[in-house]
Subunit: 275 residues, 2 copies
Amino acid sequence: MPSFYEELRTIQRKNGSLLCVGLDPDITKIPRTLLAHKDPVYEFNKRIIEATSDLVCAYKLNLAFYESLGQGGWETVHRTLEEIPEAIVTIGDAKRGDLGNSAEMYARALFDGHGFTSCTVNPYMGVDSVQPFMKNPSQGVFVLAVTSNVGAKDFQYLSVKGKPLYEYVIGRVKKWNTAKNCGLVVGATRPRELKRVRGLVPDMPLLIPGVGAQGGDLGLAVRYGCDSRGEMAIINASRSILYASRGGDFAEVARSAATAMREEMNRWREEYFVT
Amino acid sequence: MPSFYEELRTIQRKNGSLLCVGLDPDITKIPRTLLAHKDPVYEFNKRIIEATSDLVCAYKLNLAFYESLGQGGWETVHRTLEEIPEAIVTIGDAKRGDLGNSAEMYARALFDGHGFTSCTVNPYMGVDSVQPFMKNPSQGVFVLAVTSNVGAKDFQYLSVKGKPLYEYVIGRVKKWNTAKNCGLVVGATRPRELKRVRGLVPDMPLLIPGVGAQGGDLGLAVRYGCDSRGEMAIINASRSILYASRGGDFAEVARSAATAMREEMNRWREEYFVT
């Protein structure tokens, strides 16, 4: 098995892409024609995947969207993951965090149950809440550092020993990263912090949500999010791709939107990095 | 609809109990005779509930245990909740935390989908990650403050503006508590902190895990966890009740263990409070 870092680098090179598509389908926003299907969300995801899988390095599924579907949600995650080509990184955006015993169970659910390549976790409960996710070098763990939302400033920026809490969190994650499979979540809405974080972790993958609908700057996300080779940034877009068209041509238009985004990222990569 | 605080106080008085039973059944530890059932975990929970529902104020389900069951887990949660008498508080121990949009979906899944009376949330992502859970005064939200696990010390105790981070978190929760439905999670393994927290929030319910297998002191949990009337502490025990016997008499023995624990708590209440 390749390590998680290798897997990510390989697919980023193969598809020439830093783009991650966030498969977070809102049932009220997907084309009405799909509602006739037994599992409309799966059907929608399947077509988005078919239309974009040569353009992305990763797909991210925010589990909140699937849990809100009720009983069928688990199966929809499962079937969606089966549609994703094996070389592409999958991210279970679960933001879990619980004490050792329970964290083990969450890790099992995400990695063994669903078969995600990687997931997101919340650091608040400390070492034993995240280490169960970090055991296998072929499975990645993105720890929340600086998030893209408004509330990020409530705690993540608090000064701790002369630096913001998120930097302190990052210091711990560096120590915990013995299997070399950790990454960090840093919002694209925070370019200054993104630059700082990349300086602290030159080699870690960074999962960067918040471009598109949330208003993060794509050029800065590429510039500050990539490693020195112009890689290892995973830039997520959801709504701007999924709902580029609400009509029967949604998959095609999603493909155009993904292509445009990948190309814009690659133009920035050419500008800032020797690739 | 009564408010969440009222509902909690009412059931604590009716059943004369601060005890919460954590329904976190590990399939490898439940009696083998139950494994013949289609849904052994539900069957186990049902019998524990039947044997203890007049002795508790709450049941807490840690969702990690159910997610690790795979597709059937959602249904097992649902069926378990249907067995719990309506007057008893139910806690979806999910420790969720995600940005506004996704937090809305998690709240919907826990409150509307499953029908929990309350849930636990993680504060790291700040205001918009927790407020969607706090809208309805009849539904409670326990925010993680000081957790019972080893890793709690990694971040929760860091000094922020001269006080530990968890106190700073509590300060925010007090501000966010406009619907008067917030509570806090404080581990029984942290009696000193529990005392401090109760001083900061004289009226909030405190969810206190960590007695029993984790080694927290029950007397101190009662003494420092209760409000001035000897109420509003919810003291959770899981393994020490669920697996008091591993044989066919498990429900009966669980009842004895729950009775003993409730009585011990009530002796401490009589000692420390005028009830």
